[in-house]
Amino acid sequence: MSEKSSATNRGVFSAAVCANRQIGHRFYRLGLEFSETGAEAFANCKPGQFAELDLSNTALPPSETIPEDLVDAAGRRILLRRPFSFCDITTKKNKTFADILYCVVGPATLRMTTLSAGNSVSIIGPLGNGFRVPDGKKTALLVAGGMGAGPLEHLAKVLTADYSDIDVTAFAGAKTVKELPFEARLDEISQQLGFSLPEFANYGIESLVATDDGSAGFAGLVTDCLSEWLGRCDLAGKDMIIYGCGPEPMLAQVAEIAEKRKIDCQVSMERRMACGIGICLSCAVECKIEGSSETIYKLCCEDGPVFNAKGVVFSS
């Protein structure tokens, strides 16, 4: 376990909700405001780091608004906290503002939709290790699958602010246009590189969109879109880095593409976790041991969630 958490100022903090906006199908952006010690702790939260939110006392939405597939799960009491990464961190004076992009998938995220300005939430964080920027890179490719766009949006901001010599291009994919977590008129997106996704365009970053069914942008997997792009580019692998966040089969593909072209690649992994602070040992990620056919389990929460892709044994 060599990559221990860099989050040394982690703790339990209270955050005030400032906004909770629906941005499409089942996606929302939750805006949080930290004061005092929480503001200090989260001011330096790196892209890819995460936090554990307590949603156990958050109310359910009115029953008639609950999606049919969540009706049975909705009544279940929440016990554990839920892990979320951030899509934006902004500091203003003595306050830190943190945005979370989330998708309604179960009883906790369903409750999350009822949070509104004035509410407060208990948060443990910042946790884990974020994306790292190795020296000498000239091009960074951000590859997002569905909800994976969140932490990559935060990374886009940091790369453009702190690494102005690195060119950044974003790739965002989903099954259909409805499953893309962005605010633009997505059905009008072309197959061309451009500033169609405002979440990345804000930072001057061009993006490519891919949908499996062709309902927006490139028709096919985002990894195919990435391959095609790489096929047309004449940059040396060693000058590039790929950052991936999304479903595991997609990350496995991204890792393979990167490996073939000898491009550094970091992926943000996701696991069920109870604590987020390295004690429950639930969030195991199988990793290779260099020079051995044996593998070990590292912890998504403490050793990750961002891992060097070549060290991960992706589950099939």
Binding site: S56, L80, R271, M273, I277, S282
Partner: protein
């Protein structure tokens, strides 16, 4: 806060500043919790299970949340005895609370070997013998559900545990928990801890598969609390009280009220487990709440409360 109330407890011959422990597997090796609380404020601390060799643990998913509870099937993932001694023990030595090492194994020899190596370590107050883990193929619960095997492993470990407290952690997966409790006490247990988790399963109805990679897991959390309180009271009445054996009661404790219920039922001390995942500093609040309760009820010494259930199972 009323400092006149004495919530320190005598536990198998040692004095604890208060009756609250963190339960094995929910507090790491202590350093993980130190960002959130002063571990020394605890009465006792129990390490994650230690086996002779390092263990990778089970495949994922290793946990799933259930109604008011969770299932885990970690599979004894731990750094192994050598690394524990080298990397973790020095920090544990600095703790002023009582440190117990949870000992696990696939064979009796393994339990004996781990205990023997640690028996002279001054950082350690005692051992908690894990013969009740439901998530491993060999060892664990296979020892804890058969009274003859409970006796065999307890007596074998007792021969090497020296001056240290030997606490045996009981499984609830038996017809009569007093039988296994009796077997442990008769063969050298100085204390009993109960209960470990309940074997359980969650089914994904879309895939028709168990959610956990291990198929089954151990149920913990508030869902098991009333059963655990009952089992503590049963063991207290039928085994522990007469023999003067202290019980570390656990199962779904989140609040001081929960802890007090266990103590009234017969526990001399309590273990907080799953709640540490949600509020890593919750034990500090529980200790304070116990003190407040004693003040309100004019209980000068918490030992008055142990097993003080009015109308218990024997009435």
């Amino acid at each position: 806060m009323n400092e006149d109330v004495d919530i320190s407890v005598e536990f198998a011959g040692i004095r604890l500043s208060n009756p609250v422990f963190t339960a094995s597997g929910t507090c790491g090796y202590a350093d993980e919790l130190s960002d959130f609380m002063d571990v020394n404020s605890l009465g006792g601390f129990i390490t994650k299970s230690i086996t002779l060799a390092p263990k990778k643990g089970n495949a994922t998913p290793r946990i799933v949340e259930t109604d008011s509870g969770m299932l885990n099937a970690i599979g004894w993932a731990n750094i192994g005895l050598d690394a524990f001694i080298e990397e973790k023990l020095p920090a544990l030595e600095k703790l002023s609370c009582a440190v117990f090492v949870n000992v696990a194994g696939e064979t009796i020899d393994e339990y004996v070997a781990v205990t023997e190596r640690l028996a002279d370590e001054k950082a350690i107050a005692g051992f908690e013998l894990n013969i009740s883990c439901p998530n491993v193929k060999l060892g664990g619960i296979t020892f804890g559900t058969d009274p003859e095997q409970v006796a065999e492993v307890t007596s074998a470990v007792k021969k090497v545990s020296g001056e240290k407290i030997l606490m045996v952690k009981l499984s609830p997966a038996v017809t009569d928990i007093s039988v296994t409790a009796q077997a442990a006490v008769d063969t050298g247990a100085d204390a009993l801890s109960l209960v470990n988790t309940f074997t359980a399963m969650v089914v994904d109805i879309e895939t028709r598969r168990p959610v956990l990679a291990n198929k089954t897991g151990g149920l913990s959390g508030p869902a098991i609390k009333p059963i655990a309180v009952y089992l503590v009271n049963k063991v207290y009445n039928e085994v522990a009280k007469e023999r003067g054996i202290p019980i570390l009661g656990m199962g779904g404790i989140r609040t001081a009220s929960d802890a007090i219920a266990f103590i009234i039922a017969g526990a001399s001390a309590v273990g907080v487990g799953t709640a540490n995942f949600i509020e890593p500093g919750c034990t500090v609040k529980i200790i304070e709440g116990i003190r407040k309760y004693c003040t309100r009820k004019e209980i000068a010494n918490i030992k008055e409360l142990v097993g003080s259930l009015d109308r218990d199972l024997t009435d």
